[in-house]
């Protein structure tokens, strides 16, 4: 009987191993681990002193805004959706949060709106609060 190639033997062993482990890719001890229980997301996302230091949150806000601006919808639905996103980040009053408002502006830019349309939509979304619309437009202007 010809000797199996080492590569095929290794593959066969790997398959054998996999057959014994029908739960590949599962979460490894996420809630059972002492370390993962005590590890705070703070040190991962906020090492610097800048305000925009939670890129995942900023991206989510911008993307949600861009999606809304692109597909249309009423301002109330937008505000409720934004509240859910902000709540997950621990932000209870997103309208008063500058980084959130700037990310909204970035989202309006991402949606391809011109200045005028962006500002008008920002006014709708921020309940007509002029000082908050200014912050949104700062984010719009800073987007590349």
């Amino acid at each position: 009987m010809p000797r199996p190639e080492p590569r095929r033997l290794a593959l066969a062993c790997a398959i054998g191993a996999l057959l014994l482990a029908p739960v590949g890719c599962s979460i490894s001890y996420s809630s059972e681990s002492l370390s993962k229980s005590v590890s705070s997301p703070f040190t991962s996302s906020s090492g610097s002193s800048g305000e925009e230091d939670d890129p995942a949150y900023q991206e989510e806000v911008a993307s949600f805004t861009a999606g809304f601006a692109g597909s249309g919808g009423d301002a109330t639905t937008f505000r409720r959706g934004m509240a859910s996103i902000a709540q997950r980040r621990g932000i209870s009053d997103w309208e008063d949060d500058d980084p959130t408002c700037r990310a909204i502006g970035k989202g309006l830019h991402k949606a391809g709106l011109n200045d005028g349309r962006a500002e008008a939509l920002a006014g709708d979304l921020l309940s007509g609060r002029a000082e908050r619309v200014k912050v949104v437009m700062k984010g719009y202007g800073a987007a590349d």
Binding site: S31, S37, R80, S92
Partner: protein, 642 residues
């Protein structure tokens, strides 16, 4: 001369036609197997500071985005799994497209899961409203949950009015009139009662992994939001105090407020007070729940400012699981070091709060870090159970209101609405199961990683041009992580490949250099004598590590098998005492030893906890990790936790 000129011209033309050098790279990560949930290995893609990978969560294959440093900490340090990196060179635009594709898939996934959660809440609410309409008694504990309301005492047990909220109430009455609360509550009740449930039996269509379901502000959410407003007004009107056990504090030095931190906190409290007052008139749909959390936070912050000691709301989820007591008992000696580090993290969060001008996100970070530190202190010094919640801690403790406001809609309307909600729930759950259900061979962490990456480009030929070749994670044996890693190395434009060692391997290498190979081999071969790592509390019992040897593997594996079998037998006897925990560990240990007989190593031991800056021992390039590690606050013995 002419031939030289022609030659030069040809060279110039050739250089002008050469493709622009690639400006970006992404890392394909092949993570070796270990005992536990990933016995077949794992795969991920790193885009700078973000690493994306798929995980099997209760039968659903879900995409996760993690901070790259945290990913490294979890896999290479805690789980002792070497990570083989293939750095793929590609154009900047291609790298951006790939990252955006993963982000889009993540957002689509979130929208689908959120939609399912929302319809489940709506279905439960409609069932309750229908029951009320029919005059049925609700089951104990049934009712609508109001996040944020759980911090306040119940009316029946409330002590004297909270002074902070009493002051707020007085200001509201002064600015809006004596009848404000009564008028606004009556308006809300009328609004709630007049809500029309959703009867739209929209056609159920299939959708794909990338389908971002539009956010829908449906009946269930509208009802809950208005009712939250009602609850918030009632609590403010009564100036209801907070439940003592829901505000956490300690005399721990890490939580003492410095002068600039108090100033920042005072500024934050003023903004919070203004926010609470503005929310009373806001047209925002979530004003009620924002008001609940805002009021609770304000009371906790004012208490912090009174004695210069940080107080935070208990931000763990209502039903947060606790760490297995056995796991904690086996590694209790770690808690002092863990507490020292968590104190440093809490301290750093406070400093960051000042630096970030007291933003809401910065305060949320303080709440998260302080909660975890207080939890560790409680477990360490008072033997309390340790709640385990890896996700961000957000103060949303809820209370259930058993009697929601009844709708004026008739019973048959509620019945139809409930039927529509049930059908929508069934359809969403079935679709999500269909597109995200885990399958070892065709829908797993490897197949979906490549499917998502390939989908970033318009067609396979463009994907191949961008990446240097094509890998299909569903073809033949490519679903096995090390097989796909091999294909990546040979087919993609891999600029370089390197291995990030596991913590144990990194330490063994240094020990060998310092003490000599033989001595280290002898000592470190067994978890019973090893110094590089101590066995994790969750690890099965085994006699020998086999990840660092090849030819002796079957012999050592046979000994491990005997040990596993022994633990299994002991576990059988211990079932009445430990509910089968030792038995399960023994079975797992036996299973993990079997591949070793065929030269295959899976088990590598795990670490229950390592300090945050342990990544330095791996020799990993700095770009993988963030800022400098947190400086721990050293103290002798922690004061009691309140």
């Amino acid at each position: 001369m002419r031939s030289v000129r022609i030659g030069s011209l040809a060279l110039t033309v050739a250089l002008a036609a050469a493709p622009a050098p690639a400006a970006a790279s992404i890392d394909f990560l092949h993570i070796e197997a270990n005992e536990g949930g990933s016995s077949g290995g794992h795969a991920a893609l790193r885009f700078g500071d973000a690493t994306y990978h798929f995980q099997n969560v209760d039968g659903l294959l879900l995409l996760t985005r993690e901070d790259s440093q945290r990913f490294l900490h979890d896999y290479a340090l805690l789980e002792n799994r070497p990570i083989h990196v293939s750095r793929i060179e590609l154009a900047d635009a291609a790298a951006r497209a790939a990252r955006e594709r993963f982000q889009a898939r993540l957002e689509a996934q979130r929208s689908q899961l959120d939609a399912l959660t929302a319809v489940r809440v709506e279905r439960a609410l409609l069932a309750r409203l229908l029951g009320r309409a029919r005059g049925e008694e609700g089951a104990p504990g049934e009712g609508l949950a109001f996040p944020g309301a759980g911090y306040f005492e119940a009316a029946e047990t409330a002590r004297a009015a909270d002074p902070v909220l009493a002051q707020l109430r007085a200001r509201v009455v002064h600015e809006r009139g004596e009848r404000f609360f009564a008028r606004r509550q009556a308006e809300l009740r009328a609004q709630i009662a007049g809500l029309a449930p959703d009867l739209d039996e929209r056609a159920s269509t299939t959708f794909g992994s990338d389908a971002r379901l539009p956010f829908a502000y449906g009946f269930g959410a509208r009802y809950t939001d208005l009712a939250a407003g009602l609850v918030a007004l009632e609590l403010l009107e009564a100036a209801r105090p907070l439940r003592a056990e829901r505000i956490r504090s300690s005399d721990d030095p890490a939580l003492r407020l410095a002068a600039d931190e108090q100033r920042a906190l005072r500024e934050f409290a003023e903004r919070l007070r203004a926010s609470v007052l503005r929310l009373l008139d806001a047209s925002r749909p979530d004003w009620g729940s924002a008001l609940l959390v805002g009021m609770a936070r304000l009371v906790a912050i004012e208490a912090s400012l009174r004695d210069g000691r940080l107080r935070v709301l208990d931000a763990y989820a209502d039903a947060a699981p606790t760490l297995d007591r056995d796991v904690l008992a086996r590694r209790r000696e770690l808690l002092a070091a863990v507490a020292e580090e968590s104190g440093g993290v809490a301290r750093a969060a406070l400093r960051s709060f000042v630096a970030r001008r007291a933003s809401q996100a910065a305060w949320a970070d303080v709440e998260d870090a302080a909660n975890r530190h207080l939890e560790i202190l409680g477990a360490w010094r008072e033997g309390r159970a340790l709640r385990a919640q890896p996700e961000r801690l957000v103060p949303l403790r809820s209370t259930r209101i058993a009697e929601p406001v009844a709708l004026v809609a008739p019973v048959d309307t509620l019945e139809r609405a409930l039927s529509v909600a049930k059908e929508r729930e069934r359809w969403l759950a079935a679709e999500i199961e269909r597109i995200r259900g885990y399958d070892l061979l065709v829908h797993n962490c490897v197949s979906e990683l490549f499917a998502t990456l390939n989908a970033a480009f318009a067609d396979p030929s463009l994907a191949a041009a961008a990446l240097g070749g094509h890998v299909d994670g569903r073809s033949r044996l490519a679903f096995i992580p090390f097989v796909s890693a091999d294909q990546v190395e040979h087919r993609y434009r891999v600029q370089e490949g390197f291995t990030i060692p596991s913590l144990r391997r990194a330490r063994l290498a240094r020990m060998r250099a310092a003490e000599g190979a033989v001595r280290v081999w002898l000592r470190e071969s067994s978890p019973l004598t090893a110094r590089a790592v101590r066995p994790g509390a969750r690890d099965s019992f085994f006699l020998f590590f086999t990840d660092h040897v090849v030819w002796p593997r079957p012999i050592l594996g046979a000994l491990n098998l005997a040990a596993g079998a022994g633990e299994t037998v002991a576990g059988l006897l211990a079932v009445p005492l430990d509910g089968g925990q030792m038995l399960l560990r023994g079975l797992r240990g036996t299973l993990m030893s079997l591949p070793e007989l065929a030269f295959v190593n899976l088990r590598k031991g795990t670490n229950d906890w390592v300090p945050r800056d342990t990544w330095r021992e791996l020799g990993v390039e700095v770009e993988w990790v963030g800022a400098s590690p947190v400086q721990p606050v050293a103290f002798e013995s922690p004061p009691p936790v309140r």
